[in-house]
Subunit: 209 residues, 2 copies
Amino acid sequence: MTNQLNSISLANAVSQLSKLPGIGEKTALRLALHLLRQDKETAIALGQSIIDMRNNVTYCSRCHNISESEICEICSDHRRDEKTICVVETIKDVLTIESTREFKGLYHVIGGVISPLDGISPSDLEIESLIKRVEQEGIREVILALNPTIQGDTTNYYIFRKLAPYDVEISILARGLSIGNELEYTDELTLGRSIQNRIPFSETFHKDE
Amino acid sequence: MTNQLNSISLANAVSQLSKLPGIGEKTALRLALHLLRQDKETAIALGQSIIDMRNNVTYCSRCHNISESEICEICSDHRRDEKTICVVETIKDVLTIESTREFKGLYHVIGGVISPLDGISPSDLEIESLIKRVEQEGIREVILALNPTIQGDTTNYYIFRKLAPYDVEISILARGLSIGNELEYTDELTLGRSIQNRIPFSETFHKDE
């Protein structure tokens, strides 16, 4: 359909937009025509924001989170607990954990999980740099917050073994019932884990403070 | 979630992307992170293509189709039949009809249909300019190709009445079975219309040439 487009600029924008994940040629055309109906400023602001983002955003050399400077805002915030590192797979996981406002330490984005089938080995991930941080920054606790999948568990275990020589506490996110979910719809594995790891009821009072 | 974004440029791109129709904040974030994982060139090419499109694309002053010049490519193509105008609602309809390769005349994009409930009256549409073209360009046939809806039919009739004083043939797209569709799933109205407008079987041989 786009070869009927009466404008090279439009055809080009459609072809660029349709490279985005989940956006086919028809949706790309719909988006482009929408942008043509908008104010010139609105459409140009979108294009410019993408260019600016790609030019400005880089990765924090310490935790590999996104950043606009050498060291990201989280790493350079001295109010945070610099002795605790939360290990996550992706940048998105940093955002998700930050949105809980429950964690005040630093992060380390390893960039994925070990998955031999997908050709991802430990050396493809930021694990060496994590070990180095533990070594050099006097880290007291490493919280493993990878996704609760087989690959996540494998990676957790790999990191756990790698950190064994160091005097650092290694913890993992609790597995259990989702708040608001019904028992009936919780899978057996999670339910089983939540029975094993049951906690004294009195502890829950303190946690909600 | 975006207020946790560690980068103003990223937050800005996400907010711009989420203004697009059908793209929420989560999808916008997914798209932005995807662009950050791409080559710098790829991401910047997308942003630039949107800016270029909005700067270059304008509307043909004759048929109101999109164009990169005063008069669009279709209108300035002298191999086309300049005495036949196909009236459509939107630019997208031009693309759809062009993709059939069955029409060699010119277009006139009226920009919508008469719909008092939505506050769209004939003066909001490019109908006056259509009448003017019929008058000045010696048009022989006007093909009404609006969508087969009540509003489309109303607008067809309005145009038909407006063109009554002129010596011009006015035709409308055939209503009938969709090719490849089963009779059982065709709605009664369309099926009824296709019985009324049945054509000699022998004619179909010529049409398929």
